[in-house]
Point group: C2
Chain length 364, copies 2
């Protein structure tokens, strides 16, 4: 029995834990739409299988999949990955999935945000998004977890929390008029405070250069643990990312969190620009209403878009000279976790990366 | 993690329990197809909601539903009914669902039979049936229960067991060449023995008159408890059902079960013939490939098609003089359960009844 609660997590003593806190598992969605994933989504399938396989070494993985793709996905996924039919419009579980919240008495619930495909009818990335928007409700039914409905357009990738009262986000995304045009900054902060139990919100102005999500924080900056963050970085002053990273660094190092701590900021040097090739564009269905992908487009590739599993860290790699330094840095930052790299070009070609296609379910 | 086992339940010490043994819950499928359910399936929806509501007073109910109908079903079902998206071709969970088997150590697994829509391309009731055939596999994933795949075309409604080694079925259905033309009676018995852990099979020649399932036993005869069965009955010698019931009565009273017991046979007098009206036919989509429904058709209405829940019995009613005698008889036969009637004309118009649209999950 799943019910929709009328109160808020903060009022009920529930909080969103940090991604580094213990998990019960991870949720993903099988890639399928051929107007986003090239060559019938077959190369993306391989990358998603590798990510699911890597995460499943550390925690349970549930893959959601359309009825059309159920048998194909079952045959391609390892048997330890649970496969559940759920209709969807694309495969960005971080953004369309629920946000789980827990309390100190072993309780778990979830928050179901509004979703408008990263900007709605005018600036969104596809239409329709009705099936994506139903996913948190379906996850509530599958898990038997009670649900809060928050009337705020928000994607999971636009926030990171330390689980101790602090949230980091970007103005570019959360204050974008294509999300909640009728809400003030203060009202949006009110939603975050009430539904995630945070007290302090650190606003960064912008996300990564050319990030089509309108600057999701999860590609730019994330928590390693309370008081410690990783930041996407470049020393190349000619790169449009340079100024964005400088600006974020200054803000982060000057900020204090909800506990009054200064933040420790670790730089992860970005890979060389990931540029879409003519061949890669050719394999994508050309339809109206979906954001087009063109030869020469630069994708927002960043090592910060990793997933923290129970005992592991799954990191996107780009066959780039900066891959190994990023892996080394993450091994330092997560001394008690195994750091696993997955070649992720086929995921970033779809517009996001490993963090964007995953959603953790915390252990209550 | 769900695996597909290469052995058989009998070899592994698993058996199918009787429906009267303790349950963990009940599975159903939301009615939808407008070439079987009249008026866009709206009257059937009401009946299914009433059945789900009645069962949910006694045990957990999970309703499966297509993506198209998810929101409508959620809004019409009471919140205690869990709703899970699963593609389907129609709503006969008894026949398309898995058969759960349990052992003495708290284990539960399921058997996934082949399904061909009650007779395949030539005599089956609709085409295609690909989504129905996937349902046991999806239930295995949802529940995390390991699965046996049995290469026998069989529907759950064609068998009843006492959980102590005896199975009752009909030759009309299980020996029908439209199910397993290449298997002998002995081979079919072998499948039943290996996958359900039964030793003794009681074969009745035919199921109820005009039953379009090719005579499923669950409309004619079922177990109340080991050694005790209910039988659909009529004293009207002009009724084609008369001879069928006589013949079954003789066989059942002369039979002994796996434990060497004689059976106690209780008669449930059938309702007056349920005849399809012109108005009822008019509301059904007319398409090729689906069995047609015509004014004057007699549906195979029987009180034996009830569902035994944990502490309850859910009985189909027809607004007929025999409703109350059937209810009274079942109250006598189930003194420790609450007997609940549900008006079921809209279900029998679709070709089955309450037992046909339910599938119990036993408690391990």
């Amino acid at each position: 029995m799943t019910i929709t609660l009328k109160s808020t997590p903060a009022a009920d003593g529930y909080r969103m834990p940090g991604e580094f806190e213990p998990h019960d598992g991870c949720w993903m969605i099988w890639p399928e739409r051929t107007d986003n994933w090239r060559m019938g989504a077959k190369p993306a399938e391989k990358a998603f299988v590798q990510v699911a396989e890597a995460i499943s070494r550390f925690e349970k993985v549930t893959m959601l999949v359309s009825g059309r793709q159920f048998v194909n996905a079952r045959n391609k996924l390892p048997s330890q990955v649970r496969l559940i039919e759920v209709s969807n419009n694309d495969s960005w579980m971080r953004d369309v999935g629920p946000t789980f919240v827990i309390n100190d008495q072993g309780g778990i619930r979830l928050v179901d945000w509004d979703f408008n495909a990263w900007g709605g009818l005018e600036e969104g990335l596809y239409f329709p998004w009705d099936q994506d928007d139903l996913i948190p409700r379906k996850v509530a039914e599958i898990t038997g977890v009670d649900r809060y409905k928050a009337s705020l357009v928000m994607e999971g990738g636009s926030i990171h929390v330390d689980g101790e009262g602090t949230l980091i986000t970007t103005e570019e995304c959360l204050l974008n008029p294509n999300r909640n045009p009728k809400l003030s900054r203060q009202q949006i902060e009110g939603f975050l405070k009430n539904y995630l139990s945070v007290e302090k919100i650190i606003w960064l102005p912008r996300g990564c250069y050319n990030d089509e999500t309108d600057g999701h924080v999860d590609n730019l900056c994330c928590y390693i643990r309370p008081g410690v963050v990783a930041l996407n970085w470049t020393d190349d002053q000619e790169d449009p990312q340079y100024e964005i990273s400088q600006e974020a660094y200054k803000l982060l190092t000057e900020a204090t969190d909800a506990k009054g701590r200064k933040l420790e900021v670790h730089k992860l040097h970005q890979p060389n620009p990931v540029i879409v090739t003519a061949e890669e564009c050719e394999g994508i269905d050309q339809v109206e209403g979906t954001i087009p992908r063109q030869e020469g487009d630069r994708m927002a590739a960043s090592y910060v878009n990793f997933y923290i599993a129970d005992g592991g860290v799954i990191v996107p790699l780009f066959n780039d000279p900066n891959d190994q330094p990023a892996m080394n840095k993450l091994k330092e930052l997560f001394p008690e976790r195994e750091v696993v790299g997955v070649y992720a070009r086929e995921i970033i070609l779809g517009g996001g990366n490993i963090h964007c296609i995953t959603q953790q379910q915390p252990k209550p």
